[in-house]
Amino acid sequence: MYNGGKIIAGLIIFIALVTFPFYTNVGKTIEAPAAPDAAPDDMHIGNIPIVKMRGEHMKLLDQWRDEVVRKGERFVEYDGDQYEKSIQNGCLSCHSKQEFCGKCHNFVGIDPYCWDCHFSEEEGQL
């Protein structure tokens, strides 16, 4: 192989770097957050079944965001009541941010930029 020494050395360094997250976390266990135990047909605000919220909540928030800001349609009716399509005044008026959002987001290691602007009452002073 032309320049074989350099190529093999480079390959070894590359593989070592790429597999770093795997071998440094061998043996550690992190518990996944419990799945919601609601019945499959227990609908929720926004007409998404609770079991599907995990996968589809971003789609819902995207839709709501355009409806509220761009069209001014701020309220959604559910079960005879009007709910505000809002993270702060909607979801977080019933749920706790840490339990509801933070648990799963922390587990998968994502930091959605929603929290750059939106926040929850429990945080108090930012």
Binding site: V69, R70, R74, I87, Q88, H118, F119, L126
Partner: protein, 267 residues
Amino acid sequence: MKIDRRKFLKMAGFTGMGLGLSAADMLFKAPAEASSGHSAVSTAAVRRAMVIDARKLKTDEDYKRIVDACHSIHNVPTLIPEKDTVKHEIKWIWTDTYSRLFPDQVNHYHPEGFKQKLFPLLCNHCEHPPCVRVCPTKATFKRPDGIVQQDMHRCIGCRFCMAACPFGARSFNFIDPRPYITELNTEYPTRTMGVVEKCTFCSERLEKGLEPACVEASNGALVFGNLNDPESEVRKILKTHFTLQRKPELGTMPSVFYVIGGDEYAG
């Protein structure tokens, strides 16, 4: 069918271009939210407007109440850097003197007291807003009810709208505003660094049937209503008083009118 590589690539290229062009026709669909035609007056059912009766604003407390009402419920940061007070300032509504609001309508012989008088300034929610015309993403857009709204989710922070606004009504988040918010309102989000913000005529309150916060706090000095309803309070004032708009010669057709007064300084 025998075909050489060159011909195949040519056909693939043209097909791709054709598909691309047909998708590109969406580029030219007129956006529903862009500003309306050029010098036409609004004929919508609702056009939100405000009349500011400056004669009813007398003490510092009057002005402070209005500004604080807005800035506190909207989590507007208080940025007072040590050196240059206008540097990273964020303001949705504030006060300034007549010569700063109406620089093209100043003469040197105004009464002294009048020269010091303060007037509130805010976004004028123009009928033909230049800021909406220049926004490359429609992050700032005109609602059907005339409010020039800001979509913080879409804003890329290019600040073209700030260059285009003839009234200096817009502020940019040069830094993270959160450390500078004195009292958080938990019912409204903050903004993050890198987006432009301005007065929204309290659209979130209007949608709940409330008046804008500054109007509510003004004890009648600020009147808000539907400019296209001939029986509305704002139209009544406009019919019976002489009012000024800011920079009317630019054709933006602001929705904010000022009853200047001034005669109280006579004699």
